[in-house]
Structure formats: structure tokens, C-alpha cells
């Protein structure tokens, strides 16, 4: 691939592919390449810890576009190749086969890699992460002969896989280092509810528990040893303890970085004509009072991808998208709108024992996020409240007979708190 591209995209996940597909949708007729480290055609990641792990959908059903789409739309999809170096002065990248590729614009969209546990036995076979299609293919192969599975980490990945594995009849133990599951993203009532649900479904849960080692029979994992001394039986283990942004070559090229490649609201990095989108980026978030956040979500990757595509095709800027997240476990749909980062109050709306309720997050009396469990209406109506930074009648939040947007006292315009931070220089 000794040539020059108008838009060279590093990474073929949700963010990178969105840049390419949106560019074509907006009528951009320049040359586009996606360099993707994985051999597989671009696929959706959320099903990896859900339906694809369970085996109810196959790889064809989770593809981002049909395999023929890329060539049909003049997008060079380079599979199984990585960009190892970026030279922003001479405007070329070097791929892992040593080829130099010139560019006019780069979009860095390489996502993140699972955090590893630096402990004895980490190199045993049968210890898995859930990030790529091949990760899950290996996990599924291992599960065929596993009856007990230990899951390290009580976040979305850990809990979603726990739910699937219980469905598959496995003996499941979830080990969480903090005092409650989902601690990083949600308030106590959500954690309490999910802990109770998982226990009801037969999951063994160990909170305040850290792993000191993986123990093996031969070279295959057999147990996970906790700090308290307990050995959790594990014919296979799954580790979901967060991710590390993938940005080495950009950082080496001089891009500003702080827990992610720093980008502004237009996804510009500090390097000329290099943008970045998705999990590998951190940016000032208008929905978190301008705090620099790294959002790990499909919605963020796609909306950032659209932002870059609009800019590169000369379309007007869109309003910043309200962050949203979702997680399906058993028959429970957790949908989140907004970012609860820095909240002052978390108010429960509805009765958790009814398995349909929400938690409304407030900061200085403004609604900043809503977690909804089997409560789509609160999620949908919460969006407008988060967007407008609405003040609502807090004393009435628990009254589910009144829709959330009926409680608004004052909804300032978003424009009044637009944040502009320059990631350049």
C-alpha cells in the first residue's frame, strides 16, 4: 500500500468505521483507507459479552456492514495490519510490514486493550479477556469443557458475561476489588440491585476481594486465589478490570495525552491534521462541567466519528451528543443517559423490587444523568433533562405517576454552558 490517502483511519471498530461510512454518506469523494489490526471484517463489540458469547448470533449477524460494503464504497479496508509509527511533519505512517503510507488527514481510532493483572499465574492458559472477536472465540472454545468459571471484575463486562454463563449452566463466581459491583459507573442503589439479581440467578459474589494469583493444574488455570486466602474454582477465568487506551504511536509522535489522546470538541489532537475518536480519547465534556473524561462507549465512538466526518466534508457542526450507555443482563435493560461523574445526589425513582426503577443523578440541583432499569421512559425523557441541565422538583422524583419531564422547574439553554478547550499547543 505505497500510496497517499486523503483520509487514513487507524482502527476498524465503531469509531473508525463510522468516520468512513459517514464520510461517504456526506458525499466525501476523496480516498479513504481503514487500517485494522484484526483480520475480521469490522464488527460490533457489544454482542461479544452477550449474544455472541451465548452463541445465539453468529459473526455475520454482528458485522458493522456487509463485507462487500467497503470496496463498493471505495473504502480500502486493510485487515491484519497495524500502524506502528506516525510522522506528522512528513505526513506519513509506517505499518507493521514496514510500508510507508502518506496521508492528508489521519483519524486515530484504535480503541483500547484490556488491562492485565500483574500477578502470579497470569500466563496460564484458560485466562481470558473479552475485547475482540478472537478473544471470545477462544473463550467459547474453552467453555465447552469448563464447569466452573471465575470472573474477575464486577463491571459491565464481568456482569454481562456472568449473566450469559449462568444461562449456559456454568458455576460462576464474580470477584470485585471494590465494596460493590458497578462502583465506577453507578450509585449504591444500582449496585445493590444488580448484586441481588446476580445472587438470585446463582452467581457467587465476592466483593472487597483482590486476586493474588491464578493457580494451575499443569499450564491450565484451576483456581483463582484471593487475598483472604480463598481459592475460587476456575476451569476458566475471565478478567474484565478495565482498559488501557491504545495510542502508543500517536504519543510517540508527540500527541498530548492524559489517560487518552487529548482532543477538543472537534476531535482534533494536538498534532496537525490528526484527529482521534473513541475509547482512546479524552476530551472536555460539556455534560460534566468541562471535566476531561475518557468515555468508553459505542455511542461516544460513533458520535465522535460523525463529528470528524462532518468536519472533513464541510458540514456544519452538530450539537454535542448526550452520552449514553446500555447493558443487558438476564431480562434487565440498564440504560444510562448522561454522565454521573461528580454527582452530589442520587435519588431513586420507583421500586427496585418491581425490577423497574431509575436513579436520577443531580449536581447542584441539575439533572446530570439517569440510570434506568427496565424503565425506558425515564431514559428517553431523561435525555432532554440532561441536555438542558434541567433543575427539577427533587421531592417529586420518587413519584412515578408523574413523568420525569413534568418535574422541570427550570431548564437553562445548553449554549450557556458550552465548553471550549483547546487541546492544541
Amino acid at each position: 500500500m505505497d500510496r497517499e490517502y486523503d483520509v487514513l483511519i487507524a482502527g476498524g471498530g465503531h469509531g473508525g468505521t463510522q468516520v468512513a461510512t459517514a464520510l461517504r454518506q456526506y458525499g466525501f469523494d476523496g480516498s479513504i483507507a481503514i487500517v485494522n489490526a484484526e483480520d475480521a471484517y469490522p464488527y460490533q463489540r457489544p454482542p461479544l459479552s452477550k449474544a455472541y458469547l451465548e452463541g445465539t448470533v453468529d459473526v455475520g449477524q454482528i458485522s458493522i456492514r456487509p463485507a462487500s460494503y467497503w470496496a463498493d464504497h471505495g473504502i480500502d479496508l486493510v485487515r491484519g495490519r497495524r500502524i506502528d509509527a506516525v510522522d506528522p511533519a512528513q505526513r506519513f505512517v509506517t505499518t507493521d510490514d514496514g510500508a510507508a503510507v502518506k496521508y492528508r488527514t489521519v483519524v486515530w481510532a484504535t480503541g483500547s486493550t484490556p488491562r492485565v493483572l500483574d500477578c502470579a499465574g497470569w500466563d496460564l492458559s484458560g485466562i481470558h479477556v473479552v475485547r475482540s472477536l478472537s478473544d471470545v472465540d477462544r473463550l467459547r472454545a474453552d467453555l465447552a469443557s469448563a464447569s466452573a468459571v471465575a470472573i474477575v471484575g464486577g463491571g459491565y463486562i464481568g456482569l454481562e458475561t456472568a449473566a450469559v454463563l449462568r444461562k449456559l449452566g456454568k458455576q460462576v463466581t464474580v470477584v470485585e476489588a471494590f465494596s460493590r459491583v458497578l462502583a465506577r459507573v453507578s450509585a449504591d442503589p444500582i449496585s445493590d440491585f444488580y448484586q441481588a439479581q446476580h445472587r438470585e440467578h446463582g452467581v457467587e459474589l465476592r466483593v472487597d476481594s483482590k486476586v493474588i494469583s491464578f493457580e494451575g493444574a499443569g499450564d491450565h488455570v484451576q483456581a483463582v486465589r484471593l487475598t483472604g486466602g480463598e481459592a475460587i474454582p476456575a476451569d476458566a477465568a475471565i478478567v474484565g478490570v478495565g482498559v488501557v487506551p491504545s495510542a502508543g504511536p500517536l504519543v510517540a509522535a508527540g500527541a498530548r495525552y492524559d489517560n487518552g489522546v487529548l482532543v477538543d470538541g472537534q476531535c482534533r489532537t494536538s498534532l496537525p491534521d490528526i484527529y482521534a475518536v473513541g475509547d482512546c480519547t479524552a476530551s472536555p465534556n460539556v455534560y460534566a462541567d468541562g471535566a476531561v473524561l475518557r468515555l468508553e462507549s459505542v455511542q461516544n465512538a460513533i458520535d465522535q466519528g460523525s463529528t470528524v466526518a462532518r468536519r472533513l466534508s464541510g458540514k456544519p457542526e452538530a450539537d454535542p451528543a448526550v452520552p449514553s450507555f446500555w447493558s443487558d443482563q438476564y431480562d434487565l435493560r440498564l440504560r444510562t443517559i448522561g454522565v454521573s461523574y461528580g454527582y452530589h445526589d442520587a435519588v431513586v425513582r420507583g421500586d427496585p423490587t418491581s425490577r423497574s426503577f431509575s436513579v436520577v443523578y443531580l449536581k447542584s440541583g441539575r439533572v446530570i444523568a439517569v440510570d434506568s432499569v427496565n424503565a425506558a421512559k425515564d431514559f428517553a425523557r431523561g435525555r432532554a433533562l440532561v441536555r438542558s441541565a434541567a433543575r427539577i422538583d427533587v421531592s417529586a422524583i420518587a413519584d412515578t405517576s408523574r413523568p420525569l419531564d413534568d418535574l422541570v422547574i427550570h431548564a437553562p439553554e445548553l449554549d450557556g454552558r458550552e465548553v471550549s478547550v483547546d487541546a492544541g499547543g
Binding site: T21, A22, R24, Q25, Q44, P46, P47, I62, R65, P66, S68, Y69, D72, H73, V298, Q299, I302, S306, S324, W326, D328, R333, R335, N374, A375, A376, K377, F379, A380, R381, R383, A384
Partner: protein, 118 residues
């Protein structure tokens, strides 16, 4: 009336849905039974549907209108889907989330319009 423009890739396909995109262009899109309407539209290359959540009824970015006269055959949304739809400023009684509409042979010819972006 717009004249349907055959999508070259669907010429050999039997069953089709007739999709009007946001620019007002009409596309005849072939489908396989059992596929969702959202997947069918997305895979055809019509880019107007974001479908952020991949079809799990979690994002409401695949809103379409089912033409009058077909809503009964397509069926009504369940409450969960309706809760997401009804906050759209373009919500009507022809609204559906296309990820929740599974295409069957009897929906051959279904006229669908992609809802404006909220």
C-alpha cells in the same frame, strides 16, 4: 409520486422494502426473511440510520414511519419500544424502531420512511 430506483444489489432478490431516505430518495431494498428492518436498511448502504445500539432497543436512533395501511401487518410496538419512541418530536402512530421490526414474506413491498433526526 417518486419512481422507485432499483438498488443494483437487490435486483435478484425477491422480497423488497421501499425505503424513502431523509433526502426524499426512494430505494427498493431486497431483504432476507428474519432480518430486521434496521439491518436491512443499514446494510443497503443508506446511511441515515445511526442504530447506535446495534438493534437492542436501547438508543432510539433507527426511527422510521410505516406507511398507512401497513401498520397492522407490521404490528404495534411493545411498551418498552413505545416509551423510547414517544419522546421523539416526530413521533406518530406510524412510528416504529426499525430494529424491532422483523421482516417476513408478507411485508414484501413495505413502504418505509426514515424519520428526521431529532
Amino acid at each position: 409520486m417518486l419512481t422507485p430506483v432499483a438498488d443494483p444489489k437487490s435486483e435478484t432478490a425477491g422480497a423488497q422494502v421501499m425505503v424513502t431516505d431523509r433526502a426524499g430518495n426512494l430505494h427498493a431494498v431486497g431483504f432476507s426473511e428474519g432480518r430486521s428492518l434496521m439491518e436491512t436498511i443499514r446494510d443497503s448502504g443508506i446511511g441515515d440510520i445511526a442504530a447506535l445500539c446495534g438493534g437492542t432497543c436501547s438508543c432510539a436512533t433507527c426511527h422510521v414511519f410505516i406507511a398507512d395501511g401497513w401498520t397492522e401487518r407490521v404490528g404495534p410496538p411493545v411498551q418498552d419500544e413505545l416509551d423510547l419512541l414517544e419522546t421523539s418530536e416526530f413521533f406518530s402512530d406510524e412510528s416504529r424502531l426499525s430494529c424491532q421490526v422483523v421482516l417476513t414474506a408478507e411485508l414484501d413491498g413495505l413502504p418505509v420512511t426514515i424519520a428526521p433526526e431529532d
